[in-house]
Amino acid sequence: GAEAFLPAPQNISILSTNMKHFLTWSPVIVQGATVRYSVEFQGEYEREHANESWIPISECSLTTATVCNLTEDISASVPYRLRVRARLGATSSPWGTLTGFFNRVTTSLTPPVLKVVADGHHLLVELADMGPSFQFRVLYWKKGQASRVKHKVLREVSSVVHLDTMEAGAEYCVRAQAHVEAINRSSSFSPTQCVRARGDTSLW
């Protein structure tokens, strides 16, 4: 019957954005039955030094979902192999293995979400948190003086961060890119945003 043979999951692929990595696959359809899946990974260490062993991911063992969060386990910049199989009752399908390897250095990095604020003579930025792996390289300059760009590296982005003070009435522009030290890569820059300092030199 249906339990005699269970096909391996197909269309296995990785979605990796901003250092968050997910394995996805197409569901194995068995009418009237709930198919479950188990995922395992194998790093370069396991291949080269541990008899090509595979390591199960407990959060994705006998799961009904067709997606598995690998982020915690893919935490080294080496090539990994990934596989998933289906399970129905006592029957397991063959392993479906991701074609090729996955290395987190290939994760796609999106520009940071940046908000620039002028508060009197003070240039401030707010950056959306992108996770523990990220720091931000913020470039800022007085409009018209693009040759005199200043930059700051921000690690902790809990809230409004002070960049610099601005000359009265002048317009300042800011843009930022995300940087991941662990893979030594950066995102593209966010769109430039410009704000104007309070005009009067008497401050208030």
């Binding site: 009197g120 690690r155 401050l203």
Partner: protein, 213 residues
């Protein structure tokens, strides 16, 4: 032969509590024992073959023992152990987990001093010092112990309720172009990236900028 019969319940939750590498052994009294329990303490350097008794913590009735002096070399790791005595009975020796002063200490917030003019605040931060045996002993700033140490500084405008954050590596910060005659509250935190150690934020130091001349 006065051989003690070790069936007394054991001291519980034996652990180091460390702040700025002032390393104090703490424990809880054995379950169900009232007053009168005495304790003795020993410690060992991990990897070295012997336990060393702490004379000042022999037959004590308190439930802590300062081992800062014995564990001041933060390039070593340590164990400590406590035994309880009551009415001729004793407990087993109860050990801590392995204690690494460098990673297992808690860091106090920095000292914050703030001065102001009518338009600016000058903030000076001082990292806490590593525990030392006596005031005469040479001070070691935690900045020397953790070279990657940084400061996160929060400046709150009490009028607008807007809070700004600064992340700095050196210990001084000048915030110019402020509102005259306005109260600002400053607090700061120490951040060490690796080993990952964050102090709490210091209590707020509030100061008003001078009124406009």
């Amino acid at each position: 032969s006065g051989e003690l019969y070790c069936s007394l319940p054991n001291p519980r939750n034996v652990r180091f509590e460390s702040v700025n590498m002032k390393n104090v052994l703490h424990w809880s009294a054995p379950e169900g024992t009232g007053d009168g329990v005495l304790y003795k303490v020993k410690y060992s350097v991990y990897g070295v073959g012997k336990w060393i008794r702490k004379p000042e913590c022999r037959n004590i009735n308190r439930t802590w023992c300062d081992l800062s002096s014995e564990t001041s070399d933060y390039e070593e790791q340590y164990y400590a152990s406590v035994k309880a005595f009551l009415n001729g009975m004793c407990s087993d020796w109860m050990e801590t987990t392995r204690f690494n002063p460098l990673t297992d200490t808690k860091i106090d917030p920095p000292m914050v001093s703030v001065s102001s003019t009518d338009k600016s605040l000058s903030i000076t931060l001082t990292a806490p010092e590593k525990w030392k045996r006596s005031p005469e002993e040479e001070s070691i700033s935690l900045l020397q112990v953790y070279p990657g140490l940084q400061y996160n500084v929060s400046v709150l405008n009490k009028k607008t309720k807007k809070r700004w954050f600064f992340s700095i590596s050196n210990n001084t910060l000048v915030v110019p172009w402020l509102e005259p005659g306005t109260a600002y509250c400053v607090s700061a935190q120490i951040h060490v990236t690796t080993p990952l150690l964050d102090s709490d934020f210091s209590k707020e130091h509030c100061i008003a900028t001078l009124k406009d001349k």
